[in-house]
């Protein structure tokens, strides 16, 4: 196969991907009693994919990605409550708000070490948490922002209690943004990001403006997280302080740990696996599920994901990477 064709081939959609999306969209109809869960999974998958863009494609270790989730949620909720209840408008508002916040933050995290970045991202999320807490007249404080009534989607589809409209709404937004991310990752921009991730020094040495590229992707990821937040507020009619909490950031990192960082379906796979694990374990030990989640994370990192999903490798020594002489 020619070079040209082979490069293009990796960007093309694999049949399995199409199957997956068809199944995903059929689910709210086939499994209609689970529509609410499907909605949740779609939203959290979107959040996970947006974080994957940061963790997997920029190498920035961010503990504060929930800042954008929350900012999008509150923006959309406040917009619906005080200005206009149309969901798509609110979605745009939430995304724009988070994108702007992301652009501001992108500038702050470019210098310093991993620890510096960790702290700045975490600090941002915590600052937003405090602000949301203190300005309780606006945000409802610790009780959360309640009673967000949404208008019908596209003027036609009411958000029903069954949750099917919500599920299809969230799945659609997930699909659109996923396609965007997918194209980005397979484009020259994505390739330069992988280059920066693999070897920043060399990336600079071939003319890649590293900081500018990272800032762009970080901002895009922030916008996507904002979309997830907006969906969350709109489909549940509610926005609360724990969108900013460390728990959220930790949950989604666990999803990516399970699903795999550095490939976009990692976020989706991780979200699905996480939700299933959560339901199973929470039924057995509702109080101490954080223990099992923590244990799982520890084992996952120690053993390595590739080995974990291949049980036959558990009893052999891990493969060593070749070092150049």
């Amino acid at each position: 196969m020619s070079a040209h064709a082979s490069l293009l081939r990796s960007a093309r959609w694999h049949p399995l991907e199409l199957v997956f999306w068809v199944l995903a969209f059929a689910a709210p109809w086939v499994l209609s009693q689970h529509a609410l869960i499907i909605n949740e999974i779609a939203i959290v998958a979107l959040f996970a994919v947006s974080l994957d863009l940061v963790l997997g494609y920029t190498g920035i270790v961010s503990l504060g990605h929930a800042a954008f989730l929350g900012f999008g949620a509150y923006s959309a909720a406040l917009f619906a409550k005080h200005i206009h209840p149309d969901p798509l408008l609110g979605l745009v508002v939430g995304m724009v708000a988070s994108t702007v916040l992301g652009a501001m933050c992108a500038w702050t995290i470019m210098r310093g070490s991993d620890l510096t970045r960790l702290m700045v991202t975490l600090g941002t999320a915590l600052i937003l948490l405090e602000l949301a807490n203190k300005f309780s007249d606006l945000t409802g404080g610790a009780d959360g922002l309640q009673g967000v009534m949404m208008g019908p989607l596209l003027g036609q589809f009411e958000f029903d209690l069954m949750g099917q409209t919500s599920a299809w709404y969230s799945l659609s937004v997930l699909l659109v943004l996923f396609v965007l991310a997918r194209r980005l990752v397979n484009a020259p921009l994505g390739a330069t990001l992988k280059a920066v991730r693999d070897n920043r020094l060399r990336a600079m040495a071939i003319g890649i403006p590293v900081i500018a590229r990272l800032a762009v992707v970080y901002t895009v990821a922030a916008g996507m997280a904002g979309a997830a937040g907006a969906l969350m507020a709109q489909t549940t009619g509610f926005a609360s302080l724990d969108v900013f909490a460390m728990d959220r950031s930790a949950d989604v990192m666990l999803m990516l740990a399970i699903g795999g960082v550095g490939w976009l379906y990692g976020g989706i796979a991780g979200a699905v696996a996480f939700k299933l694990m959560y339901d199973v374990i929470a039924n057995i030990t509702p109080q101490y599920w954080t223990f099992w989640m923590g244990l799982f994370l520890v084992v996952l990192v120690l053993v390595g994901r590739e080995r974990l999903i291949r049980p036959w490798t558990w009893w052999s020594a891990p493969a060593r990477k070749e070092e150049a002489p």
């Binding site: 702050t108 310093g112 941002t124 954080t290 520890v298 990192v301």
Partner: protein, 292 residues
């Protein structure tokens, strides 16, 4: 106002002792350990259990808390942490968050989720006031005074060990360049293990000391992790005076912030931290040419 300063200094010194182990681990093994707070919590709970269930005097509990956390540190370092030193920071973050969650859930299971009440010995209760009836009144709680004294002694001890002992120079060499250090015959593994143990032990001691001032419940590791990280990020990992100053700054800022502008409280600390880190990404007190 002097009282505020005093309280802030006490808080800061406590934070320093709690966080110094993390600074050295970060600087030495380049390992981001978000479970550090769990060692502190262990020390706190050990003290509570010994005092409440076995009537062990408070002063005796302190070195025992240190030992318990140090031993746990040695064990975990050898079994769990060591294989991960070379892994990317993301993996270390995931791992240590997992460990922290396990610690939190375990504490909840074994000790219950309520705040633990510390029964301080009588001679540590009470308060002395200097310059009373002046605007510069200095109210010194005896317990906080005790904390300051203990932490100051420990700090001096640490500085002495680092600068005047052979172990200290081995440690500094390993921090600067572990490969070269091991090429010089320094057993880097032993240095790592010992350092991790002492750092965890100090955290445990800090947890025991701090239970009265900071509160002790299963969410301790996560609640205070941010503060420890701030001390490390702002103070830098190339010395211990940097983190000391950072911890003092943090302690005073937090106490003063909560007093003068209670509506915003911790917000001030976070904004200050971000501002400092944007201005000096390597930390406020790092000497030029230090490693990142």
């Amino acid at each position: 106002m002097l009282t505020l300063l005093f309280d802030g200094v006490a808080y800061g010194m406590l934070l320093f002792i709690l966080a110094v182990g993390l600074c050295v681990t970060m600087g030495l093994m380049n390992f981001i350990n978000l479970a550090h707070g769990a060692f502190a919590m262990l020390g706190g709970y050990v003290t509570v259990v010994l005092m409440q269930r076995h009537g062990v005097p408070f002063l005796v509990c302190l070195p025992l808390a240190f030992l318990a956390s140090a031993l746990m540190g040695v064990l975990l370092e050898r079994l769990l942490y060591r294989p991960l030193y070379k892994k990317p920071h993301l993996d270390q973050v995931l791992f240590s968050i997992g460990l922290a969650f396990m610690a939190v859930a375990s504490a909840d299971y074994w000790m219950g989720s309520q705040q633990q009440i510390m029964q301080l010995p009588d001679w540590l209760r009470g308060r002395t006031e200097l310059f009373a009836d002046t605007p510069f009144v200095l109210g010194m709680g005896h317990y906080r005074l005790f904390i300051i004294v203990v932490c100051a002694v420990l700090t001096v001890g640490l500085q002495y060990v680092l600068s005047a002992t052979r172990f200290g120079s081995r440690l500094r060499a390993s921090v600067d360049d572990a490969r070269v250090a091991s090429g010089l015959g320094i057993n880097v593994n032993v240095v790592f293990a010992a350092t991790f143990a002492v750092g965890s032990g100090l955290a445990g001691l800090g947890g025991a000391l701090g239970a009265e001032v900071l509160g002790l419940d299963p969410t301790f590791p996560l609640k205070f992790m941010v503060y420890f990280l701030i001390v490390v990020a702002v103070g830098g990992t190339t010395s211990i005076t940097g983190p000391l100053l950072a911890a003092l700054l943090l302690g005073i800022a937090d106490v003063a912030g909560k007093y003068y502008i209670p509506k915003l409280g911790a917000f001030i600390v976070y904004v200050l931290m971000i501002a400092i880190l944007i201005w000096r990404p390597q930390g406020l007190f790092v000497r030029q040419g230090g490693k990142s």
